[in-house]
């Protein structure tokens, strides 16, 4: 979930070329819809989104009784408070942007396993 089409396209290319099926959502609403229609193995969540804090996705899913997928937060802020907030909301990991392509591929491979 990421609101910039440029970044979404780059990540989609990266992840599809390394063997994953990718769906993209540009808002919490769209993301909820995507998770409801077909449960993803992994959600990469950009926490700064136009319709509010991306972390609310996890609350929204819980409120609708949708099982929480493995979720990794992506943020531009490298500070312990943001990290804590993401982990407390239910993310398994917090990545600080920009994430080097190599590392992202490696870690996605770990999480999807």
């Amino acid at each position: 979930m990421e609101d910039s089409p440029l970044v979404t396209d780059a990540l989609r290319l990266l992840l599809e070329e390394t063997g994953h099926a990718v769906r993209a959502a540009g808002s919490v609403r769209d993301a909820v819809g995507a998770c409801a229609s077909e449960a993803p193995d992994l959600v990469l969540l950009d926490i700064t989104l136009p319709d509010g804090d991306g972390l609310t996705l996890l609350d929204e899913l819980a409120a609708r009784g949708i099982a929480r997928p493995t979720t990794v937060a992506m943020t531009g802020h490298d500070d312990p408070d943001t990290r804590q907030r993401c982990l407390a909301a239910g993310c398994v990991e917090v990545l600080v942007k920009p994430v080097p392509a190599r590392e992202l591929v490696r870690r996605v491979g770990e999480w999807v396993r």
């Binding site: 440029l6 970044v7 990266l14 500070d79 408070d81 920009p98 392509a101 190599r102 591929v105």
Partner: protein
């Protein structure tokens, strides 16, 4: 001047002065408003600049890592150059954003307790390859009695990184740069004193204040062009002062430079 003027003339003069004062106040208010607008613009534009940059770097990394097919050595070098350029741009944009936030009083400290030597080592490691490339000697010395400090780790690292980067940049090959950290006594309690020094080209005393001012760059040689935003030291000073510390410099032309900054041991309230 004849002070015994007609009261009406004095009245007129007083009126004129008050009018001028009112106009000056309006001008100040307008300038402040414009300045605030500019700062906000800088903060907004930074996000718009960083997003496409990040996407470009990701694409370049995809190419470099052979994900879309193996590259020749030359091709890989070229793509790596794109990545390096992109990262440099990202850094400059980040600096502009930090500067704008600092100018608007929007910077806040996120304080944690951390080990000074750990951060010093991290920052040094990041600069290792450049140090090696220039054939410089980098000495790091964190006194054993320096305890963990409570401060904004990211901002502390940023200041250190900026000073060390400058030291490396302005020191010709074969020279020395160093980072020394000590605990010193102060009236508000103990403080961390960090010195980042070099045996480089030095800065003339008349420029010591100038180097901390935004956009100012001291060019000691007509042929030398310095890249960068000219904001590094301005930001460093802002970040140090946010912690209640001080930053200053000792240097003479041709005799190297030593930048000092203090962080009160508990730099956050």
């Amino acid at each position: 001047m004849n002070r015994l003027e007609h009261p009406q003339a004095l009245e007129a003069r007083l009126d004129a002065l008050e009018a001028q004062q009112a106009q000056a106040s309006r001008l100040i208010a307008e300038l402040q408003a414009r300045d605030a607008l500019k700062t906000q613009f800088l903060a907004n534009i930074s996000h718009d600049l960083r997003t496409p940059l990040t996407a470009m770097i990701t694409h370049a990394e995809i190419l470099r890592d052979g994900i879309l097919g193996e590259l020749s050595e030359r091709q890989r070098e070229s793509v790596q150059a794109i990545i390096n350029g992109g990262r440099q741009l990202l850094e400059s944009v980040g600096e502009i954003l930090t500067y704008a936030r600092g100018a608007a009083g929007q910077l806040t400290l996120t304080c944690t307790e951390f080990s000074v030597s750990q951060v010093v080592e991290q920052v040094s490691a990041l600069n290792e390859s450049l140090v090696a490339k220039k054939g410089l000697a980098l000495e790091v010395d964190v006194a054993p009695d320096v305890p963990p400090i409570v401060a904004d780790r990211e901002k502390f690292a940023h200041v250190l990184s900026n000073l060390l980067g400058n030291a490396i940049h302005f020191t010709p090959g074969g020279g020395r740069v160093w980072v020394v950290a000590r605990l010193v006594a102060g009236d508000g309690g103990p403080s961390l004193l960090v010195e980042v020094g070099d045996s480089g080209i030095g800065i003339a005393p008349e420029h010591h204040d100038l180097v901390f001012r935004e956009f100012a760059q001291v060019d000691s040689s007509a042929s030398r062009r310095h890249h960068g935003t000219g904001l590094g030291l301005t930001i460093a000073r802002k970040l140090v002062e946010l912690h209640g510390g001080r930053i200053w410099l000792e240097s003479k032309l041709g005799e190297g430079s030593r930048f000092f900054f203090t962080i009160p041991r508990v730099g956050c309230t």
